[in-house]
């Protein structure tokens, strides 16, 4: 097919205006397909990286996905709190190695606030069982002098420009109610964590006692009228929390995980639930999977439409090219040369389209990654295409080549029928 390849290229170049439009539509389709797939796999990767080394998440009885979402991803809210003494009873189980209570609900300029114990920094693991590490400063001390200390996730510090020693105040709830500020009790930045690529980056960490302290003069989400407890007065109060949102539990031996889970479920004093993060994550993917498949299906349809456009454009141009085909036949080109010439043109346009689409995904990642990281905590990585993305690219290419055989076949028939005297 060598004799016609150069001719095919120059012929295509002479019609570059039309072909560029087709190329663009193939590029957009590839962009969509690859982008959706990329986002899907990166989001999954991010989610599965968010927690590791935690054997069970314990909370009030709701759904496993809901518990996972708010305890690990700070998405949604708890329907009920749990009593801290219930969790401490769980922690006394002989199979339990550690228990870290979590209390959520407040925020700072859109970033969630997590109240916990210093044990959180010790036991929490993400990714490949990596511990949290401080980029600057130290963890909050958890004692009275360090009551109003806060440890910032990397993204919080970066986005808001906080440094060690800076003061900040927390908002009650998600910050959507104006005036619901804990303005009387400012916190000091004691430490900034290294970036993890998990929701930790977007979280402000304070102690459970601090959470109690800022809510001393609050009831049911509003400040008690006429009652003010200053930051200093609060230190003297009983700051031992009665209730928290959930807890992360690590076991001495993973084999006991189902036994502990069952015992938590049978806990008599209040209704509790324990979920395995991995199992809850799988359940989440089951829910999200339908949406992902729908997105992928729509993208595939777009790809099909764009390839149909390719076929239509090349077919429509064929009538004007009957002269060209007759000239080629006269100088010795066989009908199969004509077939390959048309097929090569379509394949080339598809190839370039896929390449442009892939490059577009690359550029989009570069452009949108900081925003996605800041807004949703989803870290997109500039990595080589994975197997699924290669498979998508190869299928678009194969489909493009097969589709190009349609005009190729038509040209083949035409050049056989026309011979050297096209009736065009």
């Amino acid at each position: 097919m060598k004799p016609v390849l150069g001719i095919a290229l120059r012929s295509a170049w002479s019609r570059r205006g039309t072909l560029a439009l087709v190329l663009l539509s193939v590029a957009l389709a590839s962009f969509l397909l690859l982008g959706v797939e990329r986002l899907r796999s990166d989001v999954r990767e991010n989610f599965s990286q968010a927690v590791s080394g935690t054997d069970l998440i314990v909370g009030a009885r709701s759904g496993p996905v809901q518990l996972l979402l708010y305890a690990v991803f700070r998405v949604g809210g708890a329907t009920n709190n749990v009593r801290l003494d219930s969790l401490e009873a769980v922690a006394r189980h002989r199979a339990v190695a550690w228990m870290v209570p979590l209390s959520l609900g407040d925020s700072h300029r859109g970033f969630p606030v997590l109240a916990t114990t210093p044990g959180y920094f010790e036991h929490f693991r993400y990714g490949d069982r990596q511990p949290l590490q401080l980029a600057e400063g130290r963890a909050f001390s958890g004692d009275l002098p360090g009551l109003y200390e806060v440890v910032l996730g990397a993204e919080v510090a970066r986005a808001l420009g906080y440094r060690l020693g800076d003061k900040l105040t927390l908002s009650h709830g998600g910050g959507e109610m104006p005036g619901a500020e804990h303005a009387d009790k400012p916190f000091t930045v004691a430490g900034i964590l290294q970036r993890t690529g998990t929701p930790v980056d977007r979280t402000l960490h304070i102690s459970l006692q601090a959470m109690e302290a800022i809510h001393l003069d609050w009831v049911a989400g509003v400040p008690l009228p006429g009652q003010r407890i200053s930051a200093e007065q609060a230190r003297a109060a009983d700051l031992q929390p009665k209730q928290v949102t959930a807890a992360l539990v690590g076991l001495k031996n993973r084999a006991a995980v189902f036994a502990v889970q069952r015992e938590v479920a049978d806990f008599e004093a209040e209704p509790l639930m324990a979920v395995l993060p991995g199992v809850a994550l799988d359940e989440l993917w089951d829910v999200v999977g339908a949406g992902e498949r729908a997105l992928l299906a729509v993208s595939s349809l777009v790809a099909v439409v764009s390839l149909a456009g390719l076929v239509a454009v090349v077919l429509a141009g064929l009538n004007e090219r009957r002269r060209e085909l007759a000239v080629l036949r006269a100088v010795g080109a066989a009908p199969r040369h004509v077939l390959w010439m048309l097929a090569a043109e379509g394949a080339l346009v598809t190839l370039l389209g896929v390449a442009v689409g892939a490059a577009g995904v690359w550029l989009a990642i570069v452009a949108a990654a900081p925003w996605l990281q800041a807004r949703f905590g989803i870290g997109l990585t500039l990595s080589a295409p994975d197997a699924a993305q290669w498979a998508l690219m190869v299928s678009v290419l194969a489909a493009g080549f097969l589709a190009s055989l349609v005009p190729g076949w038509r040209a083949y028939r035409l050049s056989l029928a026309d011979g050297l005297s096209p009736r065009a």
Partner: protein, 235 residues
């Protein structure tokens, strides 16, 4: 020495047609011979050229070139045989507009290694041969790299002639190549084409209804007289 072109008992009927459009008992053309073929429109001139070039196959009888029966060859072999031995000039629109003048002349050398070798046999490359032919056709170096679409009709026909002649094919077929040219251009084109065919010892089959040109050829044939199908239709 066998005739260059040998037609024997040729019958051709277009698919779906009720009657034969060509019925030629015998026609032989020698090597280096130039033949003027004329006849009114629709008398089957282009069909006969298609049969001579092996693009069409006869419904009956035999058309052979260099002693080779076209019908005995597979489709792919026919294409290769045509590329090796036949040069073809159309009435107009002979060139691929997106190729340069020189690349248009070199097209047959892409598909036939025999033509390529014969073109470079004179010394130098096939491109040298193409340039020499263009020069002889009165097309100077500044034109060689121009896109073919920028040439005038007369220039384009001369490029087409150079392309038909490159690599010295045994048979050159010209299908009314002068009908788009004015008198002065036509005369110089005819002169160049005949001279080059003689130089390459190529058999030339030239179709036109401009009978004033007939005197320039070794032989003049009226297709309606040759074609018994036409006689039957007239009767």
């Amino acid at each position: 020495m066998p005739p260059m072109v040998d037609i024997e008992g040729l019958r051709y009927r277009w698919r779906g047609a009720a009657a034969d459009c060509l019925d030629i008992e015998r026609l032989q053309l020698g090597a280096g011979h130039s033949v003027f073929l004329h006849g009114p429109s629709g008398s089957g001139k282009s069909t006969l050229l298609g049969l001579l070039a092996g693009v069409l196959l006869p419904s009956g009888g035999r058309v052979s070139l260099l002693g080779q029966d076209w019908s005995a060859l597979s489709g792919a072999r026919r294409d290769a045989f045509r590329a090796d031995h036949v040069g073809y000039v159309f009435q107009q629109f002979n060139l691929l507009p997106y190729l340069s003048v020189r690349d248009n002349v070199l097209l047959p050398c892409r598909f036939s290694s025999r033509r390529r070798e014969r073109a470079s046999a004179a010394g130098g490359s096939a491109a040298d041969a193409a340039e020499a032919l263009l020069e002889q056709m009165g097309l100077g170096a500044p034109l060689w790299t121009r896109p073919a679409s920028q040439l005038s009709v007369g220039q384009q026909q001369r490029v087409a002639a150079a392309r038909a002649l490159i690599g010295q094919p045994e048979l050159v077929i010209a299908d009314e190549p002068t009908s788009a040219l004015d008198a002065a251009l036509r005369d110089s084109f005819m002169d160049l084409l005949l001279r080059q065919c003689r130089a390459a010892n190529s058999t030339l089959v030239f179709v036109s209804h401009d009978e004033r040109l007939a005197a320039l050829f070794d032989q003049s044939l009226a297709l309606p007289q040759l074609n018994r199908a036409a006689a039957r239709l007239a009767a």
